[in-house]
Amino acid sequence: MKKSTLSGALQVLALILFALSLSSCASNPPLCSSPQTKNLDAAVGVVQRSLNDGCAAEFDRYYDDLLTLAEGDPKPENKRAFSEFLVWSTDQGLLSQRQAKEYYNRYFNVKFVSLEGDYNNCSHTCPRRDQVMRNMERELSDKERGLLHVSLDNAGYYRADELYQEVELVLEATCTACAAGR
C-alpha cells in the first residue's frame, strides 16, 4: 500500500516536472549565442546547429561572427568554408540561391553585386550614380574584410579596388556624355 502511494506520488512529480519543462521550452526563446570556439570549422558546426534550432532570424549576426572569427585565422581555405556554409544554408531553406550568392560575392568576389541591374547606364545608373558609388564603397570595405582579412586574397582585393576606381572614372565620363545628349 505504502509502496503504491509512493510510486503514484513519483509519477505525479514526474508528470509535473515534464509539464514544467515543456512550458519552459514554449515560453523561452532559444539563446542563439555566438560560437565560443576559435576554430572556424567548429564554429560553423555550432552556427549550423543554432540555425536549425530556431535561430534562423540571427543569420546576419552569425555570418558576421564567422567572419570575425575567420579574421583571427586568415587563410585562402576560408573562402571554401564560407561557400560551403552558404550552400548548406540554401539546402536547409534558410537562404534563397540569390541571397546566398549575394552573401558570398559581396565578401569574396572581385565583382561588385552593387552593380547588378538590367537597364542601361544612361537611364538607370547615371541618375543614381552617387548612390551606386556609395554602395560600391561599402561593398569594397566588405571585400577588404572577406578577400584581404579573411582569405588573404591580396591580388583579388587590389583588383576589386582598381575596378572600383575604373568604374568611377568610366561612369563619370559616360554620365557626362549621357547628360550632354539630353
Partner: protein, 283 residues
C-alpha cells in the same frame, strides 16, 4: 556541397586670374596616363577613325602652338635674367631698369598675342575630339550597357583574371602638350591590340581630359584680352609684376612640361594563385 577548385588568377586681380587659370590649365593638361592590356579584339567601337583623326589633329595644333611660343618664351627668360642681373628689383625708378621692364612687358604681350591667335584652333580641335568621344561613350557604354555588363567589360573576359598593375590614371605631368596628344593618338591608333577593358578606361580618361581642357581654353581666351589690356596699361608705367613672371612660368609648364617628381607607389603584395578558390556561388 558542390565546391569546385579551380586556379585563379599676384596682386593684380587680372593677372592673378589668368595665373590661376594657367595653373589649372597646366594641371588639366598634365592629366591622364592610361591603361594598357593585351587581349581580345575590341567589340565596342569607342575609337572610330574620326576620333583617331581628331586626336592626331589636336596633337599637331598643340605642336604649332608650342613652336610659336618657344621663341618668345626664350626671349622672356633672357630679358628676365638681364633684369635680375642688373639688380633692377627695388630700383624700378632707374631709367635703364624702366627700359628693361618695358621690353619685358612687350615680349609678354607678344606671348599673349600668340596664345590669343593659336588658342581658337586648339579649342576647335579639342572640341571636335570631345564631341566625337562623347557620342561614342553615350552610345557604347551609356545606352548599350548595363552596370553589370560595364563591370564585366572592365574586368575583361576572365572575370577572376588579374592583370598587370596599370599606371595611375589622370596623373601624368611633366610632359609637352603636343606629346600628350600625340600619345593619345598613338594609344588610340593602335587600339586594335587592346581589349575593351583598357579602351573603355582610355576613352573615358581622354574624354574627361578634353572636357576640362575645352572649358579651360575658353576661360583662358576670355582672360587673355583682360591680361593684354592690363599689361598695356603697365607698359605706360614700365613696371613688371611678379605675377607676370608667374604667368610665364605657368605657360612654360603647360607647353613644355615641368620637372615633376614621380612618386613610386608600392604595388600590392602578390596573391597566391595556387591557393585560389572559386565558389559555385560566384557570378
Amino acid at each position: 556541397m558542390n565546391v569546385l577548385l579551380i586556379p585563379k588568377s599676384p596682386r593684380n586681380p587680372a593677372t592673378m586670374r589668368i595665373r590661376r587659370i594657367f595653373w589649372s590649365f597646366a594641371l588639366t593638361l598634365t592629366l591622364p596616363a592610361s591603361v594598357f592590356a593585351q587581349g581580345n579584339a575590341p567589340t565596342i567601337r569607342l575609337f572610330p577613325t574620326t576620333v583617331v583623326e581628331d586626336l592626331r589633329q589636336t596633337s599637331s595644333v598643340a605642336k604649332e602652338m608650342e613652336t610659336g611660343l618657344q621663341e618668345v618664351i626664350g626671349r622672356l627668360d633672357q630679358q628676365q635674367q638681364l633684369y635680375q642681373e642688373s639688380k633692377c628689383d627695388g630700383a624700378e625708378s632707374d631709367p635703364g631698369c624702366q627700359r628693361l621692364a618695358k621690353q619685358l612687358g612687350a615680349t609678354y604681350l607678344d606671348m599673349l598675342g600668340i596664345m590669343d591667335e593659336r588658342l581658337p584652333d586648339m579649342e576647335h580641335t579639342v572640341n571636335n575630339t570631345r564631341l566625337s568621344l562623347e557620342k561614342r561613350l553615350r552610345s557604347e557604354l551609356g545606352n548599350k550597357m548595363t552596370p553589370w555588363t560595364l563591370q564585366e567589360t572592365l574586368l575583361g573576359s576572365g572575370s577572376q583574371a588579374t592583370k598587370s598593375p596599370s599606371p595611375a590614371m589622370r596623373g601624368r605631368s611633366g610632359m609637352r602638350l603636343s606629346e600628350r596628344f600625340s600619345q593619345y593618338y598613338q594609344l588610340v591608333a593602335s587600339s586594335g591590340s587592346k581589349n575593351d577593358q583598357s579602351l573603355a578606361v582610355l576613352a573615358s580618361d581622354i574624354y574627361l581630359d578634353m572636357d576640362e581642357t575645352s572649358e579651360l581654353i575658353a576661360r583662358t581666351r576670355e582672360e587673355i584680352s583682360r591680361a593684354t589690356l592690363i599689361e598695356q596699361l603697365n607698359q605706360s608705367f614700365g613696371t613688371i609684376t611678379p605675377e607676370m613672371m608667374e604667368v610665364v612660368g605657368g605657360v612654360k609648364s603647360i607647353l613644355f612640361g615641368d620637372e615633376a617628381d614621380y612618386v613610386q607607389v608600392a604595388g600590392p603584395p602578390p596573391g597566391s594563385i595556387e591557393q585560389a578558390y572559386r565558389s559555385p556561388l560566384e557570378n
